[in-house]
Amino acid sequence: MNALLEVDRVSKSFGGVAANREISLSVPAGAVHGLIGPNGSGKTTLFNSIVGHHPLDAGSVAFDGTRIERMTVPRIARLGLLRTFQQTRVYGAMSCVENMQVSAPHRTAHGGVLLRRVPAAVTERAEGLLEFVGLAALRHHRAGSLSFGQQKLLEFAMALMFRPKMLLLDEPTAGINPTLINGMIDRLVRANAELGVTLLVIEHNMRVVMNLATHIYCLAHGRLLAAGTPEEVRNDPRVVEAYLGGE
């Protein structure tokens, strides 16, 4: 077991729509892998399948050596596997700092921990991470009042706050001001290099994913169409066709 995340022939359909068909992939610890595919090809569904959002029709998922395909969302999250949402989700009526504080891990928690104060160290880390994603100035604003791009950044910071082993990011650059995209890529790379978080990134923008990932999977119509290094995937005629045909 040297892969951190091992997805084995996972299938999931909604009514008649086969959103995932026998998809297998594996992400080793410390890596940054990319997941691409036209709209509706089943990328988000695959994330949902992995993190326990719905029951699988078939297949298995292992994380860090543990089989997780029957576990529920919170249990999987507590193993250190988090995801962000394509349509951002933050705690809208709470301030950014509070969003961060509440996301601190409580893996050791007993009931009593709920009744403790938020430790100063946690608040410090929260502020540090907000600084890291460039939201320090907005830290006391309501999360719900941030722009879509800012919410994406906040969501990313909240996930890091948890110190996850692995992060599944659903289109982290979508909706972000184009001039800030490079900054976002840079942060992803640093999160991986400095914090040691393994990443699997859904990305629509080919240029971004080519620069970011060392290995890329391409989905189309719910199937795994191609997999390999950015070079291989970019030059794969099926991928080119899927993208040209799909859009």
């Binding site: 326990g52 719905h54 029951p55 529920t72």
Partner: protein, 285 residues
């Protein structure tokens, strides 16, 4: 046998109110907590007819018609403000409506237990082993006919098609020129009408009282939760099952626990469904 048959017949009345609730829930995404009070109001109207010396069977069309108008009025004054609102607002507002109605009925009709005796006699079956009040048979038939009538309206008429289109996708229906506001009003009025009919039957078969409306609300909810929002057959079957289950517990534990049973059944069914869903990684929401 007696219990089962009685339960079955009474269950059809529950099913009628439940079908109305499902209609409003499905179309407007509102759970009408005042459902039971609409039923009781229909019952009181029927009882009131008998005090004028009119046969209670005439209460069925009267309750239906009056409640239809009343439902429309309620929609125009209160309920239309609840569509597309926070679920909490609609629940609490209809709960407030339920208290308002029960207190109004208490003031107008008094807090006595009322019954509208139709005087139809009884039928003896199985060599007198089973006594069947004829009015229960009538009630059963009327309840099924009313439910079927409602179904027909929904399936066949233009208004019914508009209702169904709205329940599937209100925004799309609006784009296609459906006046959703009128559709909602109609759905709520139809619901009130079937509640009124159910209430007329309740008054004849059983009794009405200003403060027992909530039991009909909960029965409707239980039936809808078990049977789903879609078809009518499961609604009728669950209604009958509920009627039977109630009668049997009433018989086993004593009638004073019968109401408690309805409410505990609600809790148990919800928890059971939630447990079954959680094994499928889902939440009852």
């Amino acid at each position: 046998m007696q219990l089962l048959l009685d339960g079955l017949l009474v269950g059809a009345i529950f099913a009628l109110a439940a079908y109305g609730m499902a209609l409003v829930w499905g179309v407007m995404n509102i759970i009408n907590v005042a459902q039971g009070e609409l039923v009781i109001l229909g019952g009181f109207l029927t009882w009131w007819l008998t005090t004028l010396g009119i046969h209670p069977l005439f209460g069925i069309p009267l309750a239906g018609a009056v409640l239809f108008a009343f439902g429309w009025l309620l929609y125009r004054t209160v309920v239309h403000r609840l569509v597309d609102r926070d679920l909490f607002v609609s629940l609490l507002a209809t709960f407030g409506l339920s208290i308002l109605l029960q207190q109004l009925m208490n003031q107008v009709f008094g807090a006595d237990i009322r019954n509208a005796n139709a005087g139809l006699g009884s039928t003896y079956l199985l060599g007198d082993g089973v006594v069947l009040a004829n009015i229960k048979l009538v009630a059963f038939a009327v309840a099924l006919a009313a439910a079927a009538g409602l179904l027909l309206v929904l399936r066949r008429s233009r208004a019914g098609r508009a209702i169904r289109a709205t329940s599937q996708n209100a925004r799309a229906a609006r784009l296609m020129g459906v006046r959703t506001d009128r559709v909602y009003a109609l759905a709520f009025a139809l619901n009130a009408a079937v509640c009124g009919i159910a209430g007329a039957l309740v008054a004849m078969v059983w009794v009405v009282h200003p403060f027992i409306g909530i039991t009909y609300t909960v029965r409707s909810f239980v039936i809808v939760v078990v049977a789903g929002l879609g078809n009518i057959a499961p609604v009728v079957i669950s209604g009958a099952a509920l009627g039977d289950a109630e009668n049997i517990t009433g018989f086993l534990l004593g009638a004073e626990f019968q109401t408690a049973f309805v409410f505990l059944l609600l809790v148990v069914i919800l928890l059971l469904r939630s447990y079954l869903l959680s094994r499928r990684r889902q939440v009852l929401r």
